[in-house]
Symmetry: C2
Subunit: 206 residues, 2 copies
DNA sequence: ATCACGCTGTGAAAATAATCACATATTATT
DNA sequence: AATAATATGTGATTATTTTCACAGCGTGAT
């Protein structure tokens, strides 16, 4: 497989999101410069990025919204549906369940896990919560590949290790600490404080 | 001012976080290769990034943890303390207030705003919540420069426009939509669904 | 006092990413 | 049917970012 730049992936995900919106609005075709404007990108870059996807538009109408959306969607994620688990039913965990629920039908949070007995055996926006100790088996039995970690900092490494042992392949980590995981586990750190610091930097310095 | 790459900024923020942890652990000195390992970076890149900050280490001991932390901190954010407001007391808003509270003493969420009467005039982790219509005046009177938006999608653009008019300079947007704001307002989009899609891509394709 | 070691700081090189520029294609118009 | 207008797709170019490589320095050992 040809190597695709990480930035290209990030932009493709944004294009896809915009295309979905356009599709819902009933728009049929879109030009690279319009998609660029909607996505905070550049027309040249949109076309360059789409080379990776392999979808071709028409000089007359631009890209078919529906076809391009489905091409990018297939490129980014070949499976029909991806099952994800979430560890840690705090405010953040609940926000994510709610959000995912309405946002992307291709991604389903199939179960949640927590250590607090008050949270276990309840449903949150349709997602059932089990005891955290059962997560390991759940991952094995259901061949879960991706987990979202929204537990308190102190628990993060323990659960990351357990999940890695059970065969998880990707973690979205909302914890501020850096997780030590095997080489073959991809970790994306989403430390919200860091985003805030970035905003503050650009406000003060640009 | 010399232009600093956005990636450099992101890494510096991570270095700072790690240095803070090391400081708390009582570590006095650190080498570039250790800091790199802790931050998911490379020794060369650490040294290159630190050129922007202008702090010099010693070949014998590496960098003084305390001094380097404070140099990066000053570089990223010169003010003693930054006041930030948060719009939208949902699960996500509460999670952020809680998190910010314990994470970074230099950044303070000075007030929160919501439209729901049940949430107004209450405190959340010590942050008082006002009616959303008062946000505009609050920004003007307190010279607030940075806002966090965690309202439902449909409200985001309205509040972003109001805040921009009131003189906000940076927005951390947790809403999936792209905000239209004046040129001089910096927007950082933190769409959690996008991070999740990124993880899924790398799990399936790398 | 001298030497060896291992680090930092940085110019230079390599790799990567973004932009340009234009040949090509498609449609609407005359 | 020919022409004009406009957008795509991509080789070439430029800009940016990362990595390399090594001089120079400070420390501890001999």
């Amino acid at each position: 497989m040809i190597k695709i730049a990480e930035n290209t992936i990030k932009r493709l995900i944004v294009y896809k999101k915009e295309l979905n919106r356009l599709k819902a609005e009933g728009k049929k075709f879109i030009y690279s410069h319009v998609l660029a404007a909607l996505s905070g990108s550049q027309p040249h870059l949109v076309r360059r990025d789409l080379m990776a996807v392999g979808y071709s538009g028409s000089p007359a109408h631009g890209y078919s919204v529906k076809e391009l959306e489905s091409s990018i969607s297939d490129f980014l994620c070949s499976s029909r549906q991806v099952k994800v688990i979430l560890i840690g039913i705090g405010n953040l965990g609940r926000a994510i369940i709610d959000y995912c629920h309405k946002q992307n039908p291709k991604i389903a949070i199939s179960s949640a896990f927590d250590i607090d007995p008050n949270k276990i055996n309840k449903e949150y926006h349709g997602v059932y919560c089990f005891h955290i100790d059962t997560a390991r088996n759940y991952v094995i039995e259901n061949e879960i590949k991706v987990a979202i970690i929204t537990v308190p900092d102190s628990e993060a490494q323990t659960i990351a290790t357990a999940l890695s042992d059970a065969g998880i392949r990707g973690i979205l980590n909302f914890t501020p600490g850096r997780l030590r995981v095997p080489e073959n586990v991809y970790v994306e750190n989403a430390d919200m404080m860091l985003y805030l610091e970035k905003v503050i930097y650009f406000v003060q310095n640009v």
